[in-house]
């Protein structure tokens, strides 16, 4: 098999470890090498970040960045399968790093135990080939989106709540794909936004979406398959309804990725809505 392919950069250990990917006709040595030369940044080491990190760590990715400013809490363990009882109280990035290295001790991991801000995000995002949004609030999602557009990085974004999930790849230039703001130029009214802490979420739904995020990230960096850009996958775990919807392209009017962007040097908060009680909502949700 790989013995017949000269000049590949995989060690014998790697050939053994990744053999089930190397023999995959859609994948093979070249995709494995591209993966080894690639890096991914996972923002959020929680419900979505856990499976995403586990699958990227085990896949042969060259370098993995992990961002989270939180510590492991017992209420995480019902779904955040990368953490352990023994890591309760540790930072999530350290906890996630431990598990990833147990699967793949030669994986290069960068950890960022910090809150991402309008000032610090771009120097971090710049260092990776693909970004995964595994966060849990509106403002951060706009922040990450803007940074990815400004740094020209594809953004694999998923979200989950209750037993539902959504997945899309933003800013996929190869397909003239939309960014998050192309679809949502304005933030939703605060009252319409639910969090997993408010209304709950079931673990396996996170597993499904997070695994798919890892899959999309791998497809992006190895250039195989049909990336989920200009499309969104809607998952309803209660009814087992899976639906793919067709999305608009990159919007020329978009504030960050359009032809006359107003967001140019660094990310910006999204236009906020009036709350339904007519008070402006400018909470710092970071």
């Amino acid at each position: 098999m790989t013995k017949h392919i000269r000049n590949h950069s995989l060690s014998n250990d790697e050939v053994q470890r990744y053999s089930r990917q190397l023999i995959l006709s859609e994948f093979g040595v070249h995709a494995q090498e591209r993966l080894k030369d690639s890096s991914a940044l996972i923002i959020g080491c929680g419900g979505l970040g856990s499976p995403a990190a586990l699958y990227l760590a085990s896949s042969g990715l060259g370098r993995l960045g992990l961002v989270d400013h939180d510590n492991v809490d017992i209420s995480n363990l019902h779904r955040q399968i990368i953490h352990r009882e023994t890591t309760i109280g540790k930072t999530k990035v350290e906890s996630a790093q431990i598990t990833c290295l147990q699967i793949n001790s030669s994986l290069k991991i960068d950890t960022y135990n910090q809150l991402l801000t309008y000032e610090n995000i771009m120097p971090i995002v710049k260092q990776y080939d693909v970004i995964l949004d595994c966060t849990d609030n509106v403002i951060t999602r706009y922040l990450i989106n803007d940074a990815c557009v400004l740094c020209q990085k594809p953004l694999v974004s998923a979200s989950v709540i209750r037993l539902e999930g959504q997945l899309s790849v933003w800013n996929y230039i190869e397909k003239n794909g939309p960014c998050y703001r192309c679809l949502y130029p304005q933030a939703p009214p605060e009252e319409t936004v639910s969090t997993c802490s408010d209304v709950g979420v079931l673990g396996p739904v996170c597993g499904t979406l997070g695994s798919l995020q890892a899959l999309e990230a791998i497809k992006i960096v190895t250039k195989i398959g049909d990336v989920l850009s200009n499309r969104m996958l809607l998952v309803d775990g209660l009814s087992m309804n899976f639906r793919t919807i067709k999305l608009r392209n990159r919007q020329t009017t978009c504030a960050v990725c359009g032809t006359n962007p107003t967001i140019i040097n660094q990310p910006s908060p999204p236009p906020m809505n009036q709350c339904s009680n007519d008070q402006p909502c400018r909470k710092n949700l970071l």
Partner: protein, 97 residues
């Protein structure tokens, strides 16, 4: 005109938790558009807090409208002329992780 309306991502909570309903809009001389459909929905279906679904003559930010699984932006948006048996999905964006 017979249509299927679907609600997802939490939007269904404003419609008695019903994720799918079939409706029959009265035939009249002018055709139905998403714009007039929204007015009809507001008057006939919305049980709760209309401002959590509608803003002005459109849907509030964060709700995506799909016609037959296609982004309404690729069609005529509010002016899209509804056709018999169209499926209109209103999906609220999720943010949790």
């Amino acid at each position: 005109m017979h249509l299927t309306l679907e609600f997802a991502g939490g939007a269904e909570l404003l419609f008695g938790k019903q994720k799918l309903q079939t409706i029959d809009l009265p035939d009249n001389n002018t055709s139905w558009t998403i714009r007039t459909l929204l007015i009809w929905i507001r008057e006939n279906l919305l049980r709760e807090r209309p401002e959590l679904f509608i803003q002005g003559d459109s849907v509030r930010p964060g709700i995506l409208v799909l016609v037959n699984d296609t982004d309404w932006e690729l069609l005529d948006g509010l002016n899209y002329q509804l056709k018999e048996n169209d499926n209109i999905l209103f999906v609220s964006t999720l943010h949790g992780g």
